[in-house]
Symmetry: C2
Subunit: 408 residues, 2 copies
């Protein structure tokens, strides 16, 4: 079975006009007026498709297409919010392909055994309210709901998630956890270059990498570059270079699954002829293997602590983010792989490098993700682009995998 390609592309184009930036970019921050406009459009489309629309306490939108049996629903979806200066696919693709799946079933007058539910999760990106993946977090009852609802806007600390949900009309009645789900499928762009470079159509995502963010600040002593002998220096910048090189080398070792990135650095006073007094840098470490991630983080900490001690410097260390790897459902990932092959698409099992709503859903039901290629791996950027054919392929895999799950 195939989706209606023309209708899906027209719908993606339609949503891309809500908060459009430049030629193809979109900025639709969670709980903003643009988010409200996109939600209103989705609600009208859900109702038009005959879905039973529910909104829960954190604003997650659920459109239920009933099945022959009154059992938990096969859920499909993602999120409509974006980052600042974002793209039209990240999140929206999963929601709009989900809607297309339901409309295709309607076109073919198919009544499924199990119900199907389309979900638009609130605030996946977390750019204006912490934490990210907020809606799925609450849906899976993983966090403290009151804490989430009282989270302050970075933009304007007089606003909370609760006040803005009420303002845009999406403070719902349904309790988080009250909606029963049988399984969850999320179609998403890869946001990386692997599928495109390996010329593979579909990624069957069975795992989400763990992510550790850590900030290090090394403090030495500012000294004149021309008059201070090397043995009298406490050079925070030189020490940082040793650390950054060590961190980079760790993930360049043959066969490691570890990914490390030092993306930010700053020296003080940052003058050409003054030995740096402080050097501050961040480490983004990711791995599919929780043990490897933890051990690597320990190696980094030990190296920096020893090195700083050796040079007579001081160290401050801040744990910014600690997400362990999340195992998705291998059977559901296998189903995705099978459906892709049935459609004559090339497919590979792969981990997700970024975080997704699916990793929260994995804690309450069998879950996996479908990835489609991102041109040049670009995402979180107004130049984010996925080819029309890849969009179509992903939606067809979603359709067939969801349909199979409704029979299981």
């Amino acid at each position: 079975m195939k989706i209606n390609t023309k209708r899906l592309h027209e719908n993606i184009q339609r949503y891309a006009q809500i908060g459009n930036v430049g030629e193809i970019g979109v900025e639709r921050i969670a709980l903003s007026d643009e988010d409200k406009a996109a939600r209103d459009l989705l609600k009208s489309q859900m109702l038009q498709a005959g879905l039973e629309v529910h909104v829960d306490e954190v604003g997650n939108m659920i459109g239920l297409r009933k099945g022959k049996k009154d059992v938990p629903a096969v859920a499909i979806g993602s999120h409509l919010d974006t980052v600042y200066q974002g793209g039209r696919y990240d999140g929206a693709l999963g929601v709009l392909a989900g809607l297309e799946v339901i409309e295709t079933l309607d076109d073919q007058s198919i009544e499924t055994e199990k119900p199907i539910a389309l979900i638009n999760f609130t605030n996946e990106e977390g750019v204006n309210y912490a934490p990210d993946m907020m809606g799925s977090h609450a849906f899976a009852q993983l966090g403290d709901l009151n804490e989430i609802l009282s989270s302050l806007s970075y933009d304007d600390p007089t606003k909370t998630v609760d006040s803005e949900l009420r303002r845009i009309g999406y403070k719902g009645e349904m309790k988080c956890g009250a909606f029963g789900v049988d399984s969850f499928l999320e179609l998403h762009i890869e946001q990386g270059p692997v599928l495109e470079l390996e010329e593979i159509d579909i990624g069957a995502v069975e795992m989400v990498q763990g992510i550790f963010w850590t900030r290090y600040k090394i403090t030495g002593q500012a000294n004149h570059a021309g008059t201070t002998p090397i043995h009298l220096r406490k050079d925070a910048g030189y020490a940082a270079s040793e650390a950054v090189k060590f961190i980079g080398d760790l993930s360049r070792k043959e066969g490691t699954k570890l990914l490390t990135t030092v993306g930010t650095i700053a020296f003080e006073p940052n003058a050409i002829n003054i030995v740096p007094q402080t050097a501050t840098f961040t480490v983004d470490a990711r791995c599919v293997d929780a043990e490897v991630l933890k051990q690597s983080q320990n190696e980094i900490d030990e190296f920096i602590e020893d090195m700083v001690k050796k040079h007579g410097l001081r160290l401050e260390r801040e744990e910014m983010v600690r997400f362990d790897p999340v195992q998705l459902d291998v059977r559901v990932a296998g189903l995705i792989e099978k459906e892709a092959k049935n459609l004559n698409l090339s497919v590979k099992r792969m981990p997700s490098g970024a975080g997704h709503d699916a990793q929260m859903m994995a804690s309450i039901c069998p879950t996996a993700m479908i990835f489609v290629p991102s041109v040049n791996g670009i995402s979180h950027n107004i130049n984010e682009y996925t080819k029309d054919l890849d969009v179509e392929n992903g939606a067809n895999v979603l359709l067939n995998a969801a349909l199979t799950l409704t029979k299981a």
Copy 2:
């Protein structure tokens, strides 16, 4: 023979009030109103001491105390301008100790064989007008005078050195090069920690280090830290860490005279989860040996070029400063050493790590410098401090060395 310690300290205190910052700091930028005020005070003191006052085309102030013979003068001095948020000793000490030498000779009614001249050079620091060491540069006829006079203010490009010299009344009549000098002595604070740490009273400076400043910009590709495999990255930040470590290691080799400092660094886009697209950093390399400095600079360039090529990155390189080492006069440095020992002071022959007017004067007459300790090596800073006893010791060595030179 000894100077009048009380008078010297009172005079230092008096000048420190012109542009005073905080407790003991001074900000007296060349050609500013504060510079004019300090010049006016010096001129009045020169006249009061019976000196014949000359001002040359770039505003250098020369106070001539005639000798028995009408021959070129033994010159002593330094500069009254400071950096932004500077100290009271850097420059001013050499001028005011020079004035004290002359007043001491007057007190003792000593008529020297050769004349003595006190010089206050214009704009040694070069913070608002390039180049630095401007006055001594012009005095020694090393640069293009018109170019120097038309140098624009960084602060306000409607102003030139010439316009501001006229504004403050120090555009003089005397041609640069017209004033004959027999030899030159400059008393200065060390601006480094060596004398204090080695508990030595006096540095006899026989050499000024060469200084090379170079800026490197490495360009790779920005990529998502979670989704881009290591072998697909072009990480400008990791490459920079290899370069910074290499540069630091070079001057940490056993027995090298090289000093290297990477004082500034910046990544773009400088985001925690994005592989750096660019990394820009500067290298300050110094050495007393011209060959070692040049070879080391070549080693740095070759390492970075090879490394950048290996990683598939692009490199831009800007030569910001190239000053070769300057040999001062070994005989004059030896005289300083001898006079210090005669005064029962500990003394060591040493190079200067920073640039000074003396290095320009060295091109036209036998020249050397007298260094006194800087507390904690701090300079170019409002916390710059040199102990009263060290000030006194330095001035006494200046007095006796100058006196000996007038007899030679």
